[in-house]
Subunit: 237 residues, 2 copies
Amino acid sequence: MRKISVCVTPNLLPLYKNDNQIVVVVDVLRATSSITAGMASGIAKILPVATVEECIALQAAGYIAAGERDGKMVEGFTLGNSPFDYMDEKLKGQTIAMTTTNGTLAIHLSEGAKEIVIGSFLNLSSVANYLATQDADILVVCAGWKGKFNLEDTMFAGALVEKLQGKIDVDCDAAVSALYVYQAAQVDLMMFMEKSSHYRRLKHLDVIDDIAFCLSVDHFDCVPVVQNGKEIVLKEL
Amino acid sequence: MRKISVCVTPNLLPLYKNDNQIVVVVDVLRATSSITAGMASGIAKILPVATVEECIALQAAGYIAAGERDGKMVEGFTLGNSPFDYMDEKLKGQTIAMTTTNGTLAIHLSEGAKEIVIGSFLNLSSVANYLATQDADILVVCAGWKGKFNLEDTMFAGALVEKLQGKIDVDCDAAVSALYVYQAAQVDLMMFMEKSSHYRRLKHLDVIDDIAFCLSVDHFDCVPVVQNGKEIVLKEL
């Protein structure tokens, strides 16, 4: 039977990684939510880059630059890390270069996987349905916060485990734990999030609307994937 | 207000460590349970060592050698990693040299903390009561399994957070998550453990009785601590 595992931060990835797995990268607040929102809204491609410097170089080459460090938009960039930034009509058909504190880094560290899928609450069921039709083991990589465990990505991992259990063997203690965290949280994800360090860290940045939106389950029906190891596109289903 | 944090595996310790914290090392299955059982039963001192080689050297110097690798007693040692081994009348007043796959390693990696306390379900309330009277922040270091997240140590971390919440600020997403995992598990810890990778890994080794005993909450009233950075003794309270 296929297996699903959860890696609670990219710092533990060497212990979980193998090239036969489909990796689902999740950074609920806010990179993978923004990517999902943007791709669903018509952005053609997103190039995830690990450093601000790479993003500036792509900006100089004509791409739209997007991203944050420590929750704030990088100076001189066009887009920050709010999903609302990415749902702009003007971005339809465009290619974006993006760098974030945790999310794009987690994508880079997952290189070498059989496939890399972008997951968020916004496209939870789409991702679960896609994974259910595949034949590889699954590893959920939580972007965390600067290497540490975080609540919101663990909640998403648990939600995905819940969707897939029965079809896929949950042979991983972090996956079992994530499931219980999600089951405690699901009655009111937003109320649960108020207990998180991320909420406390970001609330002064006036991003409560972002957080509420990022917790909207199944707002979009799409599966962004990393193509050729370098660009995020929508999977044709 | 004082804080409690949880480090879900020693591999993440560099992100959480500082020398002003009291560290509680937990390896429910089975190192810190065995240490607790042994110290409560009259063992004078336990020298936790990281490698089998160090333990063999101490054995040659006259100490009783104890420990396991991959759940099995090291050949030539006197004691394995079952808590029942450590509750032998003959060990009263003795000094033991001990090495285990995860637990003694976690103790070594925690060196430099303000104090290192040995925690397990067997002495949960004793540890919680002791910590409640101290004035430093607390870090629970889960021994995990070869660097990976594990269920039983997370459950213990959650149980300790539950005992201390209200008195101590839970400013850590891993601590919040551990609390929810424990609350899901507490109705029947043993039934919950059957979902864990450790249970599946160890059940063929005929250690189900050990697991049940290690989940006995408050079987002993004692607080083992690491003294002078090298030997475990009972804290005089």
